[in-house]
């Protein structure tokens, strides 16, 4: 982390960048927030630890409009999103000085709390330099511990790899965290009967409060005005009056990002109701991989997206019924 701060100070000092986009320490052991730093003094608050899960690439849409370059700290998975935004002309590569930061898996405070940990005072083992496999958590109700892997965000268990897709320089080491197959959960649902599938999604989506956190955090949902906010489609918005509306919202949202979603996992991370929203996006990714050839959005900035592409021999929609 110190290395990052030092480098940021250098870049600010030599005028390479006008500001730094990273994380600022919070007032609890686990709530750092995305922040801009413009001076060396401000960088005193800079942190980079295992709770810095936020994907900063989407902030670069606004930062691209500012005067001068912005140094942005991107984790390996964030760089896919950044590439995708370049491809869609939403960010300006020239306005970004990308520091690819190391990652050893990001933590989900919700998972820690779900283990019954309350009244947290401090957490040990969450610094990026820590090698510990176990988190030591001091609470007002006594000391607790939790395996690091058990507290990781879902996305880190199916990590796409610790390689940065786009960067100007790399700082910090990474640790492989993948220990599950990305499509296992999707396949598990696919294997269910229609009744079970319906019950599963009905239950999950019944929690949705239409807060739009998933959409607003999503780097692929970069529309200036979402169709669900515009009058053009006469589409429902912000109300959850009927259970159909959430289905419509989540299906259409997933469809709109199909072939563009890098599977960064922000939607599931930010959902206040813990809905596994990535299961929608990942279903499309699995289908696209299976039907049109493997495709990783954000792996590059030039390839044709699956939904703006075709071959004569593409599968017919009737394949859906035939796969059984």
């Amino acid at each position: 982390m110190q290395e990052l701060i030092n480098r940021a100070k250098e870049l600010l000092a030599d005028g390479t960048v006008a500001r730094v986009l990273g994380w600022k320490g919070g007032d609890l052991p686990y709530n750092p927030e995305p922040a801009y730093f413009e001076t060396a003094e401000e960088l005193a608050d800079f942190v980079y630890n295992s709770f810095c899960g936020a994907n900063l690439s989407k902030y670069m849409i606004e930062a691209s409009k500012l005067e001068g370059k912005t140094m942005v700290c991107l984790k390996p998975c964030d760089t896919y999103s950044f590439n995708q935004l370049i491809k869609e002309h939403r960010v300006d590569r020239e306005k970004a000085y990308i520091v690819g930061v190391g990652c050893k898996g990001k933590l989900d405070i919700e998972k820690i709390k779900k283990k019954g940990v309350k009244g947290i005072e401090s957490i040990e083992g969450a610094e990026i330099t820590d090698e510990a496999d176990t988190l030591k958590i001091q609470t007002i109700y006594g000391e607790k511990s939790c395996a690091y892997a058990d507290a990781m965000l879902e996305r880190c268990h199916v990590c796409k790899g610790k390689e940065h897709m786009v960067y100007d320089e790399l700082i910090g080491d990474s640790k492989e965290t993948k220990d599950a197959d990305r499509f296992d959960e999707v396949a598990r649902i696919e294997a269910m009967s229609p009744e079970e599938k319906f019950a599963f999604f009905q239950k999950e989506l019944s929690k949705c409060i239409r807060c739009n956190a998933c959409r607003n955090a999503c780097p692929a949902c970069s529309c200036r005005k979402c169709v669900f906010d515009s009058t053009k489609f006469d589409s429902s918005q912000k109300a959850n009056v009927d259970s159909f509306e959430e289905k419509m919202f989540h299906i259409i949202r997933a469809f709109h990002v199909a072939g563009r979603c890098t599977d960064c996992g922000e939607c599931s991370r930010v959902c206040p109701q813990g809905i596994p929203l990535h299961l929608f996006n990942r279903k499309f990714i699995k289908d696209i991989d299976g039907l049109y050839g493997e495709y990783q959005a954000g792996a590059d900035t030039t390839s044709k997206a699956p939904l703006t592409n075709y071959t004569f021999e593409d599968a017919e929609p009737s394949i859906v019924g035939k796969r059984g």
């Binding site: 515009s230 489609f233 990002v257």
Partner: protein, 662 residues
């Protein structure tokens, strides 16, 4: 709020017999925005249109719905009527209560209910319609004819005679097409070459006609009035300007093993060749596959003997790009492959031939110099069997479901010519039906039976079995005598089904012209617009549209020419205003729409926007409405809904959905 008029057509009894039209009109008045509704016997009639005009003026209508036949039939009629009465034509919508309702439903109550729903959907749409103004586009005064057979030649001559430039693109080294391969033509028995050659000469000599032989259409872009076409001139290896057509090269060419395409592979030709003696242009091409020089690098004899120095081994394919206002497709036909018809022993015996091969056999310039002989042993046949409908009228996938139309007549012609020239030869025709609609056609067929004694047997042949003695055992049935027939023949001629030229698929795709399940190009209307493709500016000539004989082909060629001339005669065309438009406040500039636009109609510009007080420069999609054809691919690709299609907007379609599901 719109002021909408609803006009319900009885279409005589076509609609009124199954739909309670007055009920529909009555229900219309319940709908929001509807201020006028009436029903009338024939809305498309002059009186009907007058009623529409009166209502528009008296009730100050801002929109109207006509419940009638398909919009593909009369949308244009009603839009024009509205325009004459002062209403923007794009404020008219049609509810199709005939093809989609009265004609397919029997129960009056049910059909009326459906008609009301279809009407509601149209009203819901009109409520959201906005007046549209068509744009204008220019017309390039030049036509392209694809295919240089009799259809293409005739079309080209007719267009050129009207004073417009025409290019013919022909894939083979010479124009002339299938007709040049025929010996005689029915029902007059003229020599095919005698009537075709003058046409070929006329075309090549015409100052307005430019012929690209040994060339293919490579790419087509643009739209009606303004097509841009890339033509690949394949390397001929002979300089067209220098060659005198003396023919020495062909004589001297040592490679003479290539099967002659012109003679249907019944004999061979040299590697440097003109397909036939009357070829136009009379300039040979080198078949690089067969040429020793190209295969081994040695030889070069033709260059040596050519006094004009026309042979050029270095010649390369050349791409010519040209602009056209109209394109006529005249790609013609071929016979189907017979490899799935083992029962007729076509691939087992040289003496089983197709009718087109028989044309070459009977032709003086053919492989047997016009002598009727067996191709296996050169002996004169004594017993010839013709089998009709080989692959035609076949509902399995071995053949074609349609009637090839020309076989009955040419078989009668063949039988008659053989009996005339070789009276000792017995000719038997196995037929299913004999179809002879056409001027002097049945008389012609009857002459074959009555005057020439051709033996017509009603019944199909089950199999042809080559015998050890070289004869062919034909097992057929005679349905009228109810007996099975076994007949030894010396020669069997198969009236093979015809199919559109296989290249037509590729061409249709380039032209975005639609094609039916049999690969025939679809006409805009089966009866009323038989020579136009549904794609504007594309016309159809000859067999590419459906099986035809020569007189019909020539007639259609002329008709296609007239349609093309009608288009070329215009200075400007009105363009369809139903094009895509991007909302600058919603556009992300993400380029997704550009990626799916087949016309390259979308570009991006940095534009200053004022988004409710936020002023900034944004990358915005801009649609070129002259290029946009209104498919709508971009509207769905656009995640923010910034792209919308005028005339079929998101809200309009949603309104229709809502009205139907209500």
């Amino acid at each position: 709020m719109q002021r909408i008029g609803v006009f319900v057509c009885h279409c005589g009894s076509n609609i009124a017999a199954t739909v309670d039209v007055s009920k529909v009109a009555e229900m219309a008045l319940m709908e929001p925005g509807v201020v006028h509704a009436e029903d009338y016997q024939y809305m498309c009639s002059e009186a009907g249109q007058a009623k529409i005009a009166a209502a528009i003026q008296e009730k100050n209508l801002t929109g109207m719905v006509v419940c009638s036949c398909s919009p593909r039939m009369h949308e244009a009629t009603f839009r024009k009527a509205a325009e004459r009465a002062g209403l923007n034509p794009y404020m008219v919508e049609i509810a199709n209560i005939r093809e989609h309702c009265s004609w397919i439903h029997k129960d009056v109550e049910e059909a009326t209910k459906k008609a009301v729903i279809l009407m509601r959907a149209a009203i819901a749409k009109v409520n959201l319609n906005a007046p549209l103004q068509p744009g204008e586009s220019r017309v390039t005064k030049r036509a392209l004819v694809i295919g240089g057979g009799i259809a293409g030649i005739q079309t080209a001559i007719d267009i050129a005679d009207a004073g417009y430039e025409v290019d013919i693109v022909e894939k083979t080294p010479s124009i002339g097409g299938r007709m040049s391969q025929l010996d005689k033509t029915f029902p007059t028995l003229d020599c095919s070459a005698c009537i075709l050659t003058p046409k070929m000469v006329e075309a090549s000599a015409h100052e307005k006609i430019n012929i690209y032989t040994y060339s293919e259409v490579e790419k087509v872009s643009g739209f009606v009035g303004d097509f841009t076409v890339d033509i690949r001139k394949k390397a001929r290896s002979v300089d067209m300007d220098k060659c005198t057509g003396c023919g020495v090269c062909q004589e001297k060419c040592p490679s003479k093993k290539a099967p002659s395409e012109f003679n249907r592979g019944l004999n061979t030709r040299s590697a440097i060749y003109t397909p036939f003696a009357q070829a136009i242009p009379n300039v040979p091409v080198i078949d690089r596959e067969a040429c020793i020089k190209f295969k081994t690098g040695k030889c070069g004899l033709c260059a040596k003997v050519c006094q004009a120095g026309a042979v050029d081994y270095e010649q390369k394919d050349e791409i010519v790009t040209e602009k056209y206002g109209a394109i006529v497709v005249a790609t013609g036909f071929d016979t189907i492959k017979l490899d799935q018809y083992d029962e007729y022993a076509y691939s087992q015996s040289k003496d089983v031939i197709t009718s087109l091969e028989l044309e070459r056999v009977m032709n003086a310039a053919g492989p047997t110099h016009g002598h009727l002989e067996r191709l296996s042993d050169g002996k004169a046949p004594k017993e010839i069997v013709f089998i009709q409908c080989v692959g035609s009228r076949c509902s399995d996938d071995r053949g074609k479901p349609y009637c090839s139309k020309i076989c009955c007549m040419y078989t009668a012609k063949h039988a008659m010519l053989i009996r005339d020239k070789y009276p000792d030869v017995n000719v038997t025709v196995f037929y299913i039906d004999v179809r002879t609609p056409g001027k002097n056609f049945d008389e012609f067929y009857r002459r074959a039976v009555e005057q020439y004694g051709v033996n017509y047997i009603k019944g199909q042949v089950g199999k042809v079995i080559p015998q050890p003695n070289g004869k062919l055992l034909v097992q057929g049935s005679d349905l009228l005598d109810n007996k099975q027939i076994l007949k030894e023949a010396d020669m069997v001629v198969l009236a093979t089904a015809i199919e559109p030229n296989p290249d037509v698929r590729k061409i249709a795709t380039m032209l975005t012209a639609s094609i039916d399940t049999n690969n025939f190009l679809t006409e805009a209307h089966a009866k009323l617009r038989p020579v136009e493709s549904p794609t504007a500016g594309i016309f159809l000539s000859g067999v590419c549209q459906g099986p035809k004989d020569i007189p019909e082909t020539v007639a259609q060629a002329g008709a296609a020419a007239v349609k093309a001339i009608g288009l070329l005669a215009k200075d400007k065309l009105l363009t369809n205003p139903c094009t895509a438009q991007s909302d600058i406040l919603l556009c992300n500039g993400c380029s997704t729409c550009e990626n799916v636009c087949p016309y390259g109609a979308i570009t991006y510009e940095d534009k200053e926007v004022n988004d409710h007080g936020i002023r900034e420069t944004r990358r915005i999609a801009v649609v070129n409405s002259a290029l946009c054809q209104g498919c709508g691919a971009c509207t769905v690709a656009c995640p923010s809904g910034a792209m919308d299609l005028q005339g079929f907007s998101n809200r309009q379609i949603i309104a229709e959905v809502d009205a139907i599901c209500r």
